[in-house]
Amino acid sequence: MDAADEWLVQSLRLYRDLHTFELQAPTRLIEWARGNRVCVAGYGQSDGNEILQLIPPPTLLTKETQGLCPERDFKVECGGFSERPVYSLKYVPDTSLLVTSGPPNSSLQVWQVSAEDSDVIKSVSTLATENCTGQSWAKIDTISARAPWVLHGSRLDRVQITEVESRKSVYTAASRGSEELSGLAFLDCNTLLLCCATGRLCLADVRQPQSLVEATPVPSAPCSEQWCLGSRHRAQPSEPSSQPVARLSSRGLLTLTDLRKTSEFLALAKARVPSPGSGAEFLCVSWAPALEGCLAISERERNKERLNKGLE
């Protein structure tokens, strides 16, 4: 029996269900879209990086194992082409727009997802940020509360919120240093979460641009260690956050922080990462949307490990 067949037999023992799909080009992101769609995008240096909105097969969308379901393939619902690598992509809720970012600078691209009579994702506009030339690519998040907004920034002193359609800047965060950001997020329409590559975590209130609250710093580590962020949107601003914020380092150190009590860690754990210290380029930690208290982490080797919140 050859190696591929041997793996097939082993996989029957290892996995209850297994689905493998090969994209034409690698992606460093996968995002959920409205209607259970997913979106992936290429990040090659040459132009023609595809942005694909995909319809997952029914086999992936139901809880029960479907057996030998005839519909097993992802369908490309619509697609577009980006001249730049796409490192980050976010849909703008309640609109048919999405925003992307990627090198060579911190500007953002806005796209129109297809109309009914076409399957093409079209480029609509570019949001040039202040002094975007020479800056690394911007991390982004979106929200549609007062208006469709995109939160973006490549460094702690370059964080802004821009209205997507009018391209007006509606918020600029107070500067507290120029560290590179590894992630940022809207916790709700008023609260922002900013995470630096060093692990430094800050909270900001959109209504009070001058104030930034810092959370407990991460355990000190070699300066090459990098951190990434996993958080979740709150539905309402007033709802107390029961969902801690996760930070994961390139050495596999995982911290959970309760935002109601940022002075201490809720939990610390050591996760197994295949290439510790290899950098955080493909490092990702996220809360599972449907599984309470479960985190997923992924790294360059594309191993996926699901962890419970209660790890020590």
Partner: protein, 600 residues
């Protein structure tokens, strides 16, 4: 400009009944002649009225090409040749020729015997149709006539499936039919050389699909089969004799050997021998592993898979049975199904498409109470599963093929127009070619730029390359010669050689112009003035004052005479050859302006 015209008669922007008409350099070729399996009326056939309203099809079409034996590519062939009327050649590969009639007959039986249709082709028509077939080998250039040639390339997909190149002179089209760019357990992957056709016609059914990997499908299939036999159940897999059955047999054999499983696996009586016969006959159509192993043993003679006897169906305990026919519409597979359907421990796995009206189609649609012969009701408690193992190229595979063949244009069939705009842009952007998506009955014209080969004489080549800058592979060089056409070939030769070959004498064409100049001096003095004037202006040219009193500028001759009636006027005769027309005209206009005043 020359053009290639393509009209889908079926499969343009829909799936099923593949049939495409191509006109190339005055030749008309029909590609595939498939049936639409979803319809029971005339819509199941391609619309042949698009071909020609008047005149016989045999006179209009130069040939028909069939890519493989699936009914959506050949199902309408006997209808077309024997009922609509076509007597010309039909080309297909050897395996397709062997297997096609079996499927056609099988389908005819379902339609006529089972469903009672009357306006359908008969068994004799299938035989008469197959008499018109010319079988071809892979990579063999077949001369259909003096100008039209075709060549088959390996397509994977099913045994004998081929992609076809159709060529007339320098113009060519490649039609893919169904193909697969990844090898499977018994067939290889499609392959074509960098033939750079003017047009590549390819299926786009799965072009907007990212397919679940074959390994995962196999894994799920094995898991289901294993779970069923582990709990003591029986698994029925209705199959056609050739095709996916061999793939699944190799898979199960490998798994059973690895897991040391003991539950028996059976293959319908007669099926094994038939399949073995065809795979031995067409061993070159299988993949490398099968061919290499075949030297030691026949990979289709299995250790764990035995011939089935109908009595085995009543044996207790688990088993797996491959039985024909594939849609549960008759024969052994239906008999076994009837015995096993009432037990929920058992399972039936349908590995392919089932035509409406068959038991296979009914149970896949969810029907669990079936009316059988004699009005008996059969309650189906066994598990019903469907798994398609058909091997088609997805988006990645289609792009791979285009990269291999390097066509100048691409035409997509089998997809919905609205859902192909992105694919069209993708192809156009990546390969910088035009991409077309015609609907049924819509004709697409593709302009071609055929290269006409011309031989150049060695003497001319040497002479021309000696003039001017050295030859550079990256820079075109303009050459002058005479184009001769003889016996359908072209040659470029020097004018002298052309005259010689044609037996013609060379004539020189000279122009003469008279320019009047006011100058009372003697003629030789006027000539001297003209000489000095021209010498001063035309510094880059050879200006000479000849002993006979004439002036030459390159090959242009200037002579001065006195005007017959006015001694104060001199007449300059300016004469030049056709090659020096430009300089001659310039000199004439220069002289007409007059001469500068000479110093006292």
């Amino acid at each position: 400009m020359p053009e290639i015209k393509v009209t889908p008669l079926g499969a343009g922007q829909d799936v099923g009944r593949s049939c495409i008409l191509v006109s190339i350099a005055g030749k008309n070729v029909m590609l595939d002649c498939g049936m639409h399996m979803g319809y029971n009326d005339d819509r199941r056939f391609p619309d042949f009225s698009y071909i020609t309203q008047n005149g016989r099809l045999t006179d209009f079409l130069d040939c028909v090409i069939i890519s493989h034996f699936h009914l959506d590519h050949c199902g309408a062939l006997p209808y077309f040749s024997e009922m609509v009327g076509y007597d010309g050649p039909i080309y297909m590969t050897h395996p397709t020729k062997a297997i096609c009639p079996i499927l056609l007959e099988d389908y005819r039986k379902i339609t006529v015997d089972k469903k009672g249709e009357t306006n359908f082709f008969t068994s004799q028509m299938i035989k008469d149709c197959m008499k018109k077939v010319v079988a071809v080998h892979l990579h063999q250039t077949v001369q259909v006539d003096e100008e039209l040639e075709i060549k088959a390339y390996y397509a994977g997909h099913v045994l004998g499936a081929a992609m076809f190149q159709i060529k007339v002179g320098c113009e060519s089209v490649v039609y893919t039919g169904d193909y697969n760019m990844t090898p499977d357990r018994h067939l290889g992957a499609a392959w074509i050389d960098k033939c750079r056709p003017d047009l590549l016609i390819t299926e786009s059914t799965y072009a907007t699909t990212i397919r679940d990997s074959k390994r995962c499908r196999e894994r799920d299939f094995l898991k289901k089969v294993h779970e069923t036999v582990e709990r003591g159940g029986k698994v029925l897999i209705p199959v056609f004799a050739l095709g996916r059955a061999q793939e699944l047999c190799i898979l199960l054999e490998t798994f059973w050997e690895r897991m040391n499983l003991k539950a028996p696996i059976y293959f319908s009586t007669g099926l094994t021998e038939k399949a073995n016969h065809y795979y031995k006959l067409f061993i070159t159509w299988t993949n490398q592993k099968i061919r290499k192993t075949f030297v030691q043993r026949n990979m289709f003679e299995f250790k764990h898979i035995k011939a089935f006897d109908r009595a085995f169906a009543d044996n207790p305990g688990p088993m797996v049975v491959f039985a024909t026919p594939g849609m549960l519409h008759a024969g052994q597979s239906l008999q076994i199904f009837r015995k096993w359907a009432g037990n929920e421990k058992n399972m039936v796995i349908m590995p392919g498409y089932c035509v409406q009206g068959t038991v296979g189609h009914k149970i896949l649609s969810g029907q669990r109470k079936l009316e059988m012969e004699g009005r008996q009701i059969l309650e189906v408690k066994m598990q019903v599963e469907y798994m398609s193992f058909s091997a088609h190229a997805d988006a990645k595979g289609i792009m791979q093929l285009i990269r291999q063949a390097e066509p100048r244009n691409v035409l997509l069939v089998h997809g919905e127009a609205k859902k192909m705009e992105f694919l069209k842009q993708k192809i156009e952007q990546e390969f910088h070619v035009s991409c077309f998506m015609p609907a049924n009955g819509e004709t697409t014209s593709i302009l071609t730029n055929p290269c006409i080969p011309v031989d150049i004489s060695l003497g001319l080549l040497k002479r021309e390359t000696a003039i001017g800058p050295l030859p550079d592979a990256k820079r075109p060089k303009l050459m002058h010669g005479t184009l001769l056409m003889k016996d359908n070939s072209f040659r470029l030769v020097s004018p002298e050689q052309a005259l010689k070959e044609l037996g013609l004498a060379e004539h020189q064409l000279r122009f003469t112009c008279r320019v009047h100049i006011q100058d009372p001096r003697k003629e030789h003095e006027t000539v001297l003035r003209v000489y000095n004037h021209l010498k001063g202006i035309l510094k880059d040219y050879s200006v000479q004052h000849l002993p006979d009193g004439s002036i030459t500028v390159e090959s242009i001759l200037i002579q001065a005479t006195a005007h017959s009636e006015d001694q104060g006027t001199k007449v300059l005769l300016v004469s030049w050859t056709y090659q020096d027309e430009e300089l001659g005209s310039y000199l004439t206009s220069l002289l007409k302006k007059g001469l500068p005043q000479s110093p006292p």
